[in-house]
Symmetry: C2
Subunit: 122 residues, 2 copies
Protein backbone atom coordinates (compact mmCIF):
# COMPACT_ATOMS: atom_id res chain seq x y z
CA UNK A 1 0.00 0.00 0.00
CA UNK A 2 1.44 3.31 -1.00
CA UNK A 3 0.66 6.45 0.88
CA UNK A 4 -2.72 7.41 -0.40
CA UNK A 5 -2.76 10.77 -2.14
CA UNK A 6 -6.40 10.95 -3.05
CA UNK A 7 -8.66 10.99 -0.01
CA UNK A 8 -11.35 8.40 0.41
CA UNK A 9 -15.02 9.23 0.22
CA UNK A 10 -16.73 8.07 3.35
CA UNK A 11 -19.87 10.16 3.39
CA UNK A 12 -22.63 7.60 3.70
CA UNK A 13 -23.09 3.95 4.54
CA UNK A 14 -22.88 3.02 0.90
CA UNK A 15 -19.44 4.55 0.70
CA UNK A 16 -18.27 2.62 3.73
CA UNK A 17 -19.53 -0.65 2.36
CA UNK A 18 -17.95 0.11 -0.97
CA UNK A 19 -14.63 0.81 0.66
CA UNK A 20 -14.35 -2.44 2.58
CA UNK A 21 -15.58 -4.55 -0.34
CA UNK A 22 -13.56 -2.80 -3.04
CA UNK A 23 -10.88 -5.18 -4.15
CA UNK A 24 -10.76 -7.65 -6.96
CA UNK A 25 -11.09 -10.77 -4.87
CA UNK A 26 -12.56 -9.65 -1.58
CA UNK A 27 -16.15 -10.66 -2.09
CA UNK A 28 -15.08 -14.03 -3.36
CA UNK A 29 -12.82 -14.49 -0.37
CA UNK A 30 -15.61 -13.71 2.04
CA UNK A 31 -17.91 -16.06 0.25
CA UNK A 32 -15.50 -18.96 0.15
CA UNK A 33 -14.59 -18.51 3.79
CA UNK A 34 -18.28 -18.58 4.52
CA UNK A 35 -18.51 -21.83 2.57
CA UNK A 36 -15.88 -23.33 4.80
CA UNK A 37 -12.64 -22.86 2.91
CA UNK A 38 -10.54 -21.41 5.65
CA UNK A 39 -6.92 -22.00 4.85
CA UNK A 40 -5.01 -19.76 2.45
CA UNK A 41 -4.00 -22.72 0.33
CA UNK A 42 -7.61 -23.81 0.00
CA UNK A 43 -8.69 -20.32 -0.95
CA UNK A 44 -5.90 -20.14 -3.45
CA UNK A 45 -7.12 -23.30 -5.09
CA UNK A 46 -10.65 -21.91 -5.23
CA UNK A 47 -9.37 -18.73 -6.91
CA UNK A 48 -6.53 -19.93 -9.11
CA UNK A 49 -6.45 -16.75 -11.19
CA UNK A 50 -5.34 -14.70 -8.23
CA UNK A 51 -1.74 -14.74 -7.19
CA UNK A 52 -0.98 -15.90 -3.71
CA UNK A 53 0.57 -12.52 -2.97
CA UNK A 54 -2.63 -10.63 -3.62
CA UNK A 55 -4.82 -13.04 -1.73
CA UNK A 56 -2.67 -12.57 1.32
CA UNK A 57 -2.85 -8.81 0.92
CA UNK A 58 -6.60 -8.73 0.53
CA UNK A 59 -7.11 -11.07 3.43
CA UNK A 60 -5.01 -8.62 5.41
CA UNK A 61 -7.29 -5.76 4.45
CA UNK A 62 -10.37 -7.75 5.33
CA UNK A 63 -8.76 -8.43 8.65
CA UNK A 64 -7.91 -4.79 9.24
CA UNK A 65 -11.49 -3.97 8.45
CA UNK A 66 -12.58 -6.61 10.94
CA UNK A 67 -14.58 -8.68 8.52
CA UNK A 68 -12.43 -11.74 9.06
CA UNK A 69 -10.20 -13.02 11.80
CA UNK A 70 -7.13 -15.21 11.64
CA UNK A 71 -6.00 -18.06 13.80
CA UNK A 72 -2.43 -19.24 13.46
CA UNK A 73 -1.70 -22.75 14.65
CA UNK A 74 1.88 -23.01 15.84
CA UNK A 75 2.72 -26.17 13.95
CA UNK A 76 5.02 -27.21 11.19
CA UNK A 77 4.31 -26.91 8.39
CA UNK A 78 2.41 -23.70 9.09
CA UNK A 79 -1.34 -23.78 9.42
CA UNK A 80 -3.49 -20.70 9.37
CA UNK A 81 -7.25 -20.44 9.36
CA UNK A 82 -9.40 -17.49 8.53
CA UNK A 83 -12.95 -17.11 9.76
CA UNK A 84 -15.72 -14.58 9.51
CA UNK A 85 -16.19 -12.20 12.39
CA UNK A 86 -19.70 -11.27 13.45
CA UNK A 87 -19.39 -8.23 11.27
CA UNK A 88 -18.31 -10.31 8.31
CA UNK A 89 -21.03 -12.83 8.97
CA UNK A 90 -23.62 -10.06 8.92
CA UNK A 91 -22.55 -9.25 5.40
CA UNK A 92 -23.21 -12.71 4.04
CA UNK A 93 -26.90 -12.19 3.30
CA UNK A 94 -26.04 -9.10 1.29
CA UNK A 95 -23.36 -10.90 -0.68
CA UNK A 96 -25.84 -13.68 -1.22
CA UNK A 97 -28.27 -11.18 -2.67
CA UNK A 98 -25.59 -9.90 -5.02
CA UNK A 99 -24.90 -13.40 -6.21
CA UNK A 100 -28.54 -14.20 -6.61
CA UNK A 101 -29.12 -11.12 -8.72
CA UNK A 102 -26.21 -12.14 -10.92
CA UNK A 103 -27.55 -15.65 -11.26
CA UNK A 104 -31.01 -14.43 -12.19
CA UNK A 105 -29.69 -12.22 -14.97
CA UNK A 106 -26.73 -14.33 -15.95
CA UNK A 107 -27.36 -14.54 -19.68
CA UNK A 108 -28.14 -10.90 -20.21
CA UNK A 109 -25.19 -9.81 -18.11
CA UNK A 110 -22.74 -12.15 -19.75
CA UNK A 111 -23.80 -11.03 -23.18
CA UNK A 112 -23.54 -7.35 -22.35
CA UNK A 113 -20.17 -7.72 -20.68
CA UNK A 114 -18.66 -9.69 -23.52
CA UNK A 115 -20.11 -7.40 -26.17
CA UNK A 116 -18.44 -4.47 -24.49
CA UNK A 117 -15.19 -6.41 -24.21
CA UNK A 118 -15.03 -6.87 -27.94
CA UNK A 119 -15.80 -3.23 -28.67
CA UNK A 120 -13.19 -1.15 -26.89
CA UNK A 121 -13.26 2.02 -29.06
CA UNK A 122 -14.64 1.63 -32.56
Amino acid sequence: MHERKIPLNLNCGLDLTGEVLYGKWKIRLLWFIHEGYRRPSELQRKIPNASRRVLTAQLGELRDHELVGRKVHPVVPPKTEYFLTDLGQSLIPVISALGQWGDEHEEKLRTAILKRQNTPKP
Copy 2:
Protein backbone atom coordinates in the same frame (compact mmCIF):
# COMPACT_ATOMS: atom_id res chain seq x y z
CA MET B 1 -10.37 1.70 -21.95
CA HIS B 2 -7.20 -0.01 -23.01
CA GLU B 3 -7.19 -3.38 -24.58
CA ARG B 4 -7.62 -5.67 -21.64
CA LYS B 5 -4.67 -8.00 -21.18
CA ILE B 6 -5.83 -9.94 -18.21
CA PRO B 7 -9.03 -11.89 -18.87
CA LEU B 8 -12.09 -11.31 -16.74
CA ASN B 9 -13.44 -13.89 -14.35
CA LEU B 10 -17.05 -14.59 -15.13
CA ASN B 11 -17.63 -17.94 -13.54
CA CYS B 12 -20.62 -17.37 -11.32
CA GLY B 13 -23.34 -14.84 -10.74
CA LEU B 14 -21.28 -13.12 -8.11
CA ASP B 15 -18.55 -12.51 -10.65
CA LEU B 16 -21.00 -11.00 -13.10
CA THR B 17 -22.47 -8.69 -10.52
CA GLY B 18 -19.01 -7.69 -9.42
CA GLU B 19 -17.99 -6.91 -12.96
CA VAL B 20 -20.86 -4.54 -13.73
CA LEU B 21 -20.63 -2.78 -10.37
CA TYR B 22 -16.85 -2.54 -10.23
CA GLY B 23 -15.95 1.10 -10.68
CA LYS B 24 -15.32 3.82 -8.19
CA TRP B 25 -18.56 5.73 -8.73
CA LYS B 26 -20.93 3.26 -10.32
CA ILE B 27 -22.98 2.29 -7.32
CA ARG B 28 -23.38 5.92 -6.34
CA LEU B 29 -24.43 6.81 -9.86
CA LEU B 30 -27.09 4.13 -9.86
CA TRP B 31 -28.34 5.25 -6.52
CA PHE B 32 -28.54 8.92 -7.37
CA ILE B 33 -30.26 8.20 -10.65
CA HIS B 34 -32.72 6.13 -8.68
CA GLU B 35 -33.23 9.12 -6.40
CA GLY B 36 -34.16 11.24 -9.37
CA TYR B 37 -30.94 12.98 -10.33
CA ARG B 38 -30.94 12.30 -14.02
CA ARG B 39 -28.82 14.88 -15.74
CA PRO B 40 -25.03 14.60 -15.84
CA SER B 41 -24.63 18.03 -14.33
CA GLU B 42 -26.88 17.09 -11.44
CA LEU B 43 -24.97 13.89 -10.86
CA GLN B 44 -21.73 15.77 -11.01
CA ARG B 45 -22.93 18.11 -8.29
CA LYS B 46 -23.94 15.13 -6.17
CA ILE B 47 -20.48 13.61 -6.58
CA PRO B 48 -18.15 16.58 -6.66
CA ASN B 49 -15.05 14.52 -6.00
CA ALA B 50 -15.40 12.74 -9.30
CA SER B 51 -14.25 14.42 -12.45
CA ARG B 52 -16.79 14.93 -15.18
CA ARG B 53 -14.65 12.84 -17.45
CA VAL B 54 -14.92 9.74 -15.29
CA LEU B 55 -18.59 10.13 -14.57
CA THR B 56 -19.27 10.16 -18.28
CA ALA B 57 -17.13 7.11 -18.77
CA GLN B 58 -18.78 5.14 -15.98
CA LEU B 59 -22.22 6.13 -17.15
CA GLY B 60 -21.17 4.77 -20.51
CA GLU B 61 -20.20 1.46 -18.99
CA LEU B 62 -23.44 1.25 -17.06
CA ARG B 63 -25.19 1.90 -20.33
CA ASP B 64 -23.22 -0.76 -22.17
CA HIS B 65 -24.13 -3.15 -19.40
CA GLU B 66 -27.76 -2.15 -19.82
CA LEU B 67 -28.27 -0.94 -16.29
CA VAL B 68 -29.12 2.57 -17.39
CA GLY B 69 -30.46 4.17 -20.54
CA ARG B 70 -29.89 7.61 -21.96
CA LYS B 71 -32.24 10.07 -23.59
CA VAL B 72 -30.74 13.00 -25.46
CA HIS B 73 -32.97 16.01 -25.99
CA PRO B 74 -31.97 17.84 -29.15
CA VAL B 75 -31.91 21.27 -27.64
CA VAL B 76 -29.37 23.97 -26.98
CA PRO B 77 -27.74 23.99 -24.54
CA PRO B 78 -27.57 20.20 -24.53
CA LYS B 79 -29.84 18.23 -22.27
CA THR B 80 -29.35 14.57 -21.52
CA GLU B 81 -31.17 12.38 -19.06
CA TYR B 82 -30.21 9.01 -17.73
CA PHE B 83 -32.68 6.55 -16.30
CA LEU B 84 -32.63 3.07 -14.84
CA THR B 85 -33.55 0.19 -17.09
CA ASP B 86 -35.63 -2.65 -15.71
CA LEU B 87 -32.39 -4.47 -15.11
CA GLY B 88 -30.94 -1.51 -13.28
CA GLN B 89 -34.11 -1.05 -11.31
CA SER B 90 -33.96 -4.66 -10.19
CA LEU B 91 -30.60 -3.95 -8.62
CA ILE B 92 -31.87 -1.15 -6.41
CA PRO B 93 -33.01 -3.36 -3.53
CA VAL B 94 -29.59 -4.96 -3.42
CA ILE B 95 -27.81 -1.61 -3.41
CA SER B 96 -30.19 -0.53 -0.72
CA ALA B 97 -29.16 -3.52 1.34
CA LEU B 98 -25.52 -2.60 0.90
CA GLY B 99 -26.19 0.92 2.08
CA GLN B 100 -28.24 -0.26 5.01
CA TRP B 101 -25.49 -2.58 6.14
CA GLY B 102 -23.03 0.30 5.96
CA ASP B 103 -25.34 2.54 7.93
CA GLU B 104 -25.87 -0.07 10.61
CA HIS B 105 -22.17 -0.52 11.16
CA GLU B 106 -21.07 2.98 10.36
CA GLU B 107 -19.02 3.69 13.45
CA LYS B 108 -17.16 0.43 13.50
CA LEU B 109 -16.44 0.61 9.79
CA ARG B 110 -15.29 4.18 9.82
CA THR B 111 -12.96 3.50 12.71
CA ALA B 112 -11.44 0.45 11.10
CA ILE B 113 -10.99 2.14 7.75
CA LEU B 114 -9.34 5.20 9.20
CA LYS B 115 -7.12 3.19 11.50
CA ARG B 116 -5.82 1.29 8.52
CA GLN B 117 -5.33 4.52 6.61
CA ASN B 118 -2.99 5.85 9.23
CA THR B 119 -0.97 2.66 9.41
CA PRO B 120 0.29 1.96 5.92
CA LYS B 121 3.37 -0.15 6.69
CA PRO B 122 4.95 0.37 10.11
